[in-house]
């Protein structure tokens, strides 16, 4: 049997658990198995592990341990942040501002709020996927109670001007939430520098376990719970705590804090991959801002082919990536992020996201750059859209220029 080389380039989807994290979780499962609410020694051991993890997570983002509420993941943290603060402040106002490129955990929470009497403004983004501060200023109303803008976009890796928005929100006395699931561990995240009141985190994006995340809630910020049935997590998130997951999250957070400078090294691999793709594949464009971008994200659109077919072909060569095509988004439309950036449907269908991680090497990048052109060529030769040498004459191009 010939063994295919395996290159994992989907770290924004999830990351492998680090050995130190798995070890800590094993101890939590076998030795710290008590219920943290119990008074006996077993319970106390679990409680101690829980509070240690809370400290580790708080330290990662410059928060106080008491400001960390553990959740089942980034999705629940986003749901709790947006719906919890909106409900707690509904007497003050009904208006919320967010962006059109948020994660669905956020967008779907906003849709739920709209059905329940709130009004939501979805800010547009520029062609690089950046929110414009002037658009935010123009959207502010007397009854605006919450602004929620993600720190880094999960698809195109664009870093939003969170500090600037944080300052505006603080000046106007409006609560400010950011989804930092894709930024933490990759670039510095400090709740005081960013001036945020709420911030969402997820463990499995930073080499921790799935099924655990956290919401940072600045002291004094009112949030109505979405779960009921106990006093855990200061009544904000009742239910017996997921100790193994939380302990793993704590360890992963500690390692992420210590290893943050190392993430900068990935910029070299990222840029090598971007430059190599643009050079070797004709009719290929970079999606998202080139500079204001996390060290791990590469997102390109390869014209005249469809993303899922590309992913399948890459998978046969052992390369794991993702796409914003309709087929992979689970709906009939391609990525809402790329569409919001003004990229037309046809080009969004051919988008390819490759996200780097700490174990990737230069050899991995060389392998991808060697294999990808032939894969693209094969699919393009099958495509009725790849009709001419000069892309400018193609029907697709004409259609796109109208967008």
């Amino acid at each position: 049997m010939n063994t295919v080389k395996k290159v994992y380039l989907d770290h924004s989807a999830t990351t492998p658990i680090r050995a130190e994290v798995a070890q800590a979780m094993m101890v939590a499962m076998t030795e710290q198995f008590g219920n943290p609410s119990s008074v006996h020694s077993f319970g106390r051991a679990a409680k101690k592990a829980l509070e240690e993890a809370r400290e580790q997570v708080a330290q990662l983002i410059g928060a106080q341990p008491g400001e960390i509420v553990f959740t089942s993941g980034g999705t629940e943290a986003d749901n709790l942040a947006v719906i919890g603060t909106a409900m707690a402040n509904r007497k003050k106002g009904k208006h919320i501002i967010t962006s059109s490129i948020e994660h669905h955990a956020l967008l779907d929470s906003c849709k739920w709020l709209e059905k329940n009497g709130f009004e939501v403004t979805y800010l547009p983004v520029d062609s690089n996927g950046l929110v414009r501060v002037e658009d935010l200023m123009a959207a502010l109303r007397e009854d605006t109670i919450l602004i929620s803008i993600m720190h880094v976009n999960n698809e195109v890796g664009t870093i939003q001007p969170i500090e600037e928005i944080g300052k505006i929100a603080r000046d106007k006395g409006i609560l400010f939430h950011t989804d930092a699931v894709q930024s933490v561990g990759k670039i510095p995240v400090d709740v005081n520098e960013l001036q945020v009141d709420l911030l969402s985190l997820s463990a499995h994006k930073i080499y921790g376990p799935k099924g655990v995340g956290a919401l940072y809630i600045r002291k004094g910020t009112r949030v109505e719970p979405r779960n009921f049935g106990g006093g855990q997590e200061r009544k904000r998130r009742p239910g017996t705590e997921n100790i193994p997951g939380i302990v793993g999250f704590g360890k992963a957070a500690e390692l992420a804090r210590i290893n943050l400078p190392e993430e900068q090294k990935l910029i070299i691999l990222r840029d090598k991959l971007i430059d190599g793709l643009l050079e070797r594949i004709p009719d290929c464009q970079l999606n998202g801002d080139r500079e204001k971008r996390i060290p791990t994200n590469v997102n390109v659109s390869i014209r005249f082919l469809e993303g899922e077919a590309l992913l399948l072909s890459m998978d046969l060569k052992g390369i794991a990536a993702s796409s914003g095509s309709a087929c992979t988004s689970g709906s009939l439309d391609p990525s809402h992020v790329l569409l919001a950036m003004g990229i037309c449907h046809e080009i969004a269908h051919g988008s390819l996201r490759m996200t780097l991680g700490r174990d990737n090497t230069e050899e991995d990048i060389d392998y991808v750059l060697d294999e990808l052109p032939a894969i693209v060529e094969r699919l393009r030769n099958m495509s009725p859209l790849y009709c001419c040498e000069k892309a400018a004459q193609c029907e697709v191009k004409e259609m796109c220029q109208n967008v």
Partner: protein, 125 residues
């Protein structure tokens, strides 16, 4: 999520390409939804003697296109015309449910190619 047969037809698609002077051409889908299939046929004595496809789309779109060309080749026009999208999916040992509508259009493209041939033949004769 795909059957072995789908992966086989995706990896080694049959009858890819264009025909010179085709007798009939059928095209379905549009690039906005992410799927376009074009099928071209050669017809002699009421039989499909050659058939080629070109497809822009996902794995299922490519596999169904390949499969329908294999099913139609050597068939009479009447036999080929009754091939349904469902038949194609079954011949591939099934498709994931979300692919049944958006990417399973190859039989429609074949039907359009046959109709195109019949219309042209009708005009000439």
């Amino acid at each position: 999520m795909y059957s072995e047969k789908v992966m086989d037809h995706f990896t080694n698609p049959r009858n890819v390409g264009d025909l010179e002077n085709p007798d009939g051409v059928g095209e379905v889908g549009n690039p906005t939804c992410g799927d376009i299939m074009r099928i071209a046929i050669k017809v002699e004595d009421n039989i499909i003697t050659d058939i080629k496809f070109k497809t822009f789309g996902c794995g299922a779109a490519i596999a169904t296109s390949s499969m329908v060309t294999e099913m139609a080749k050597g068939k009479t026009l009447e036999e080929a015309r009754v091939i349904t999208n469902k038949n194609v999916a079954e011949a591939l040992d099934g498709l994931p449910p979300n692919k049944m509508h958006c990417s399973n259009l190859a039989a429609d493209a074949l039907k359009l190619a046959i109709d195109d041939y019949l219309a042209k033949a009708g005009q000439v004769g």
